[in-house]
């Protein structure tokens, strides 16, 4: 008998995990196909999860019912709130996750998920009929049928590892690659692009002279990514990272050997990311910089390797030896793994709908590096959306599309499907125009309601959210209703804290708006019985009210445009008066809404006017 799945996920990386987990959680019969079971949840590059903007994505995944946040929490060996001294919008969590423990925790968790099966196989083709995907075909020619397929193949599609002039067909760290799948996709009509990324050296712990390096420690207070669990670790058990600098000698070695690197020697074809340049790139492009900062990050408590962040290169091994040994503290370092660049096939993301379903092949979804992104967190964010939308598709429901004003995940997907990419796309806070609203601290307030409606957030989690909302509202009300009284005791508290007492009896709400006042000070004047989470939320909402209100006004404008949908069958050739560049772009991208159309470069306001007049005429579009 042929087994029919609801959803097959190809690839057990961070995108695949979230996709298969959420589909199974939503009650669908799901199969995860991975080339190597022991690599499920693997972290082939940096040993950290989160970071600026990325940490917020992790919380968004958690808010939608995903796994990454909690698994990172129980696998971390150091955690830190980045930008904690800056504004609330740019604070973001990052942890050093143990590379042994994280995948193990992930695999253990996936084993417990109902409706989810895991199979080891290499997928080399899809079952396709009339542009509709019906399942997958393994390397051994086994056909597995499914209503939907989600490809999360990472760097495995025709992966090539480059070290100097050596070019080895391979997935990350020597794993078997998929040789044919991307060719098949091309035959089905998809445009394939070639991208490149890199990873630096791993250094043996006891060969490093830590005594000359500056320590970078974790925070001395508790943090978690997940909204559902209390922190459970010992602050003093956190493992430090170390700061390393390049020097004149390092730069000279690189300059002397430039032609030997895969990139400068002309051995690579893929486009590498600008935000993650190889060290040779940095030296060439910023030749006047005397030194570059590098970090040594612990990979795991269970094996003795450090990750040398900032030193990724495609130089041959002998040059890498010289480069590493030129660094202070690493004079006698033993390199356990050499840095390499990896090239791989991805699909042009302009062929994907905002739901992450393919425009050409029905019922096919993609997430992660195959869509042109980089990063575990970016992958997870897409994975959960692809999983949800595969399920909604099966159930004949409207797709789940996060707006740019809802989440970083919304920004990420909108950027991909609207602008495309020519380099692996990394999330940055500057890409989010509404970042003041898209904070890490309010990801649950922004997204759990959606999760509850979709069915990825349970009754208990939802109740907890409602309680939190209620408490926030009540605390704000209290602060507005109560006014400071100027008795001697109050005056004393103001004096002790070096804060000028207001001339009139203003409310606590007004008082909190003052730059020198925080909620901790208010607490000295009146008792506040709510927990830290609620107090933090209220403090942000009151202190930055003006900016937040302004941002919401902008969102309102955007939402009006988002509501103006463009019919899928629109024929742009029929619209007279469209500028030809705009017509071409619109035809290629086929935006879903007027708002998305306005974000396409080359589509001008006048084209938008012409388009809306046409829509009104043809579709009586409001």
């Amino acid at each position: 008998m042929i087994t029919m799945y609801d959803c097959i996920v190809v690839g057990g990386g961070h995108a695949g995990i979230e996709a298969c987990h959420i589909a199974a959680k939503m009650g669908k019969k799901t199969l995860l196909v991975t080339a190597n079971y022991k690599n499920v949840g693997d972290m082939p590059c940096n040993p950290s999860i989160g970071g600026t903007a990325k940490g917020i994505i992790v919380r968004e995944v958690d808010a939608l019912g995903g796994l990454m946040g909690h698994i990172a929490d129980i696998s971390q060996i150091q955690i830190k709130m980045l930008n904690n001294s800056k504004g609330p919008a740019v604070r973001s969590l990052r942890c050093q996750a143990d590379k042994m423990i994280y995948p193990r925790n992930m695999q253990e968790t996936l084993k417990t998920i109902k409706n989810l099966e895991i199979k080891e196989a290499m997928i080399e083709d899809l079952i396709v009929e009339n542009n509709e995907v019906l399942g997958v075909i393994t390397k051994d020619n086994e056909k597995i049928y499914s209503k939907t397929v989600i490809l999360t193949t990472g760097t495995y599609l025709k992966g090539n590892i480059l070290i100097g002039s050596e070019n080895t067909p391979s997935g990350p760290h020597g794993e078997e690659r998929s040789n044919y799948l991307s060719d098949r996709l091309k035959e089905y009509g998809l445009k394939i692009i070639r991208l490149k990324t890199g990873t630096p050296q791993r250094i043996k712990k006891d060969s490093i002279d830590f005594s000359v390096l500056k320590k970078e420690e974790g925070d001395k207070c508790f943090w978690t990514f997940s909204f559902d669990y209390e922190p459970n670790y010992k602050i003093e058990d956190q493992v430090p990272c170390y700061l390393v600098y390049t020097n004149e000698l390092t730069h000279q070695i690189i300059k002397d050997n430039l032609k030997k690197s895969a990139m400068y020697g002309g051995y690579a074809t893929g486009v590498g990311p600008r935000y993650c340049p190889s060290i040779e790139d940095k030296i060439v492009r910023f030749s006047d910089k005397e030194r570059h900062q590098l970090f040594l990050e612990p990979e795991s408590l269970y094996y003795d390797e450090y990750y040398l962040q900032g030193f990724s290169t495609s130089m041959p091994r002998d040059v890498q030896e010289k480069m590493v040994h030129s660094l202070k503290g690493l004079e006698n370092a033993v390199i356990t793994k050499y840095a390499y660049a990896i090239e791989y096939d991805a699909i042009d993301p302009l062929q994907i709908k905002p739901s992450l379903e393919n425009k050409i092949l029905k019922n096919l979804f993609t997430a992660g590096q195959i869509n042109g992104t980089s990063g575990y967190e970016e992958a997870a964010g897409q994975g959960i959306v692809a999983g949800i939308n595969a399920v909604l598709k099966i159930d004949n429901k409207e797709p789940f599309i996060l707006k740019r004003s809802d989440a970083y995940i919304g920004v990420l997907i909108d950027d991909l499907v609207t602008k495309g990419t020519i380099e692996p796309y990394r999330m940055l806070t500057s890409r989010a125009e509404f970042r003041l609203l898209l904070r890490g601290d309010n990801a649950d307030l922004r997204l759990r309601e959606y999760g509850y409606k979709i069915g990825t957030i349970n009754e208990n989690q939802y109740k907890k959210l409602q309680m939190k909302k209620e408490k926030i509202a009540r605390l704000i009300e209290n602060l507005k209703d109560n006014h400071i009284s100027k008795n001697n005791e109050t005056k004393k508290i103001f004096n002790e804290n070096n804060i000028n007492i207001p001339t009139s009896n203003i409310s606590y709400y007004e008082l909190l708006k003052r730059p020198e006042v925080n909620i901790k000070f208010i607490e000295k004047l009146i008792p506040i019985e709510y927990n830290e989470e609620v107090k933090e939320q209220v403090e942000i909402m009151v202190k930055y009210e003006g900016y937040i209100k302004k941002a919401y006004k902008e969102v309102e404008k955007l939402i009006k445009l988002e509501e103006k949908e463009i019919p899928e069958d629109i024929d742009y050739k029929k619209i007279k008066n469209l500028a030809s560049e705009a017509r071409q772009k619109l035809e290629k991208i086929r935006p879903k809404t007027i708002a998305q159309a306005t974000r396409i470069s080359g589509v001008n306001p006048v084209d938008i006017s012409v388009l809306s007049v046409y829509l009104k005429k043809e579709y009586n579009h409001e």
Partner: protein
């Protein structure tokens, strides 16, 4: 979508009246803020006589047509302000509407709304699009001509400066652990903001000159009866050679006549019926002289050589902006009885009989406006309302940033305002591509694994 839009609906130029049209949900509220009569409780399709007022100053005497939705051209609440034809008055009203929350309409936008709101028949859709495209093209050509090379360069330079600060802040945010990069502190940002604001203010000041080139200079002649205002006006206009538009009436700010001096139009404004021989300086009054001072670029105050200066004349003179004031003592052919001991300003003597001293007067006008330098030197002036509004908005945003800086807001909050300023400036030169900032970060900073 339905924000409130406004535009001058009649062709710009010297006409008897101009119509400024406002359409949208907020049309009535916005006009209420600048009109002497509250329209909220007024019936639809009614006309109201009153004044356009800015900060308690009367700008113009107008007729306002109130048309409530849906029976209007756009089907939205629509107001048409019939004002006096002078360019400066009409522009001033437009500016007031924009400052009070309306947005300058895109080319063809009233018609587009009429169509989108179902007011215009479907068959007309194509022609609506033709109109939008045509008007946009025309506006674009105009805009290109208006934004000349030097101005574009200035704005580009300013934007470059801002984007450098922005990307530095972004780098501090996205790579907080890269301590080798310069940290944008409050002090550093404060210094930058001051510099930017200074530049923007310069641009706006320059904008005034740009308007002068396009629209001319408004000159008001005031003085007691029989002091010789008419003769001076006649001499300056030289009626037989100059084109004089003479619109008799009792209203203010009608261009009495205009001449071209060094390529710049000098518009003589009939502020209080200069030609009416029975006009009395008392009638003008102190208050009115203030409002004249506000609307005119130059005030030519005429005194009589043959008479002692009066208390009223002194009081009015004292209230006028010294920078705009030219004092001309007429009737120098008669015996000098005037006493000018207390007036510190330079005074020109002359008369219209022998025409003695009148050339000096013309020179003085030129000098006052630095006409030579305006026309010959730097052409980098902002020359239309759209540009001026955008620069003002940019400047406003920078001021907000400074305010937040004083309140010790975090840098990333202050950056929001700075970014707005950068975007407004981008709108002027029509050159804001989305990933400019991200590109700048990567080209100027060296980061990553």
């Amino acid at each position: 979508m339905n924000d409130t839009i406004c535009a001058i609906s009649t062709s710009l130029g010297i006409g008897a009246i101009s119509i400024v049209r406002v359409s949208g949900n907020e049309a009535i509220n916005i006009v209420n803020k600048i009109f002497s009569i509250n329209l909220s409780d007024k019936e639809s399709h009614t006309i109201h006589y009153g004044h356009i007022i800015d900060n308690n100053k009367v700008i113009d005497e107008v007729l306002v047509m109130l048309m409530r939705a849906p029976k209007t051209y756009t089907t939205e609440d629509t107001i048409e302000i019939n004002c006096h034809g002078g360019i400066s008055t009409t522009n001033k009203i437009l500016e007031l509407l924009i400052n009070n929350g309306a947005r300058l309409a895109e080319p063809g936008e009233f018609t587009k709304r009429a169509f989108l709101n179902g007011r215009i028949n479907l068959l007309e859709a194509e022609s609506v699009n033709d109109l939008i495209v045509a008007k946009t093209d025309a506006a674009r050509t105009l805009a290109i001509n208006n934004v000349d090379g030097i101005l574009t360069k200035k704005i580009k330079k300013l934007r470059e400066k801002i984007v450098k600060i922005l990307s530095n802040i972004e780098v501090n945010i996205d790579y907080p652990e890269y301590t080798d990069e310069v940290e944008v502190t409050h002090e550093l940002l404060n210094k930058h903001l001051k510099e930017i604001s200074k530049e923007l203010t310069k641009l706006v000041d320059g904008a005034k000159n740009g308007r002068i080139i396009k629209e001319g200079i408004n000159i008001a002649i005031i003085g007691k009866p029989n002091v010789g205002k008419s003769s001076i006006l006649n001499f300056l206009i030289d009626e037989e050679k100059a084109i004089v538009t003479n619109i008799p009436g009792t209203t203010r700010d009608i261009v009495e006549g205009s001449i071209t001096l060094n390529g710049v139009a000098l518009n003589f404004i009939d502020t209080a019926g200069i030609r009416e021989t029975d006009d009395l300086v008392e009638k003008i009054g102190v208050d009115k002289s203030k409002s004249i001072a506000k609307n005119a670029d130059i005030i030519l105050f005429v005194l009589n050589n043959n008479e002692e200066i009066s208390e009223e004349e002194l009081e009015i003179m004292g209230n006028l902006d010294k920078n705009k004031l030219i004092i001309f003592v007429n009737k120098s052919d008669l015996k000098k009885k005037i006493h000018l001991g207390n007036i510190s300003q330079e005074i020109i003597f002359g008369n219209t009989i022998t025409e003695n001293g009148l050339d000096n007067l013309l020179e003085k006008i030129k000098e006052k406006l630095k006409l030579d330098s305006i026309v010959n030197k730097d052409m980098s002036y902002l020359s239309n309302i759209r540009q001026i509004t955008l620069v003002n908005k940019a400047n406003e945003a920078i001021k907000n940033a400074s305010k937040s800086l004083k309140k010790e807001m975090p840098i990333d909050m202050i950056e929001i305002d700075l970014k707005n300023a950068w975007e407004y400036l981008g709108e002027i030169i029509g050159e804001a591509y989305e990933d400019e900032l991200v590109d700048n970060i990567f080209s100027n900073f060296c980061l990553g694994k």
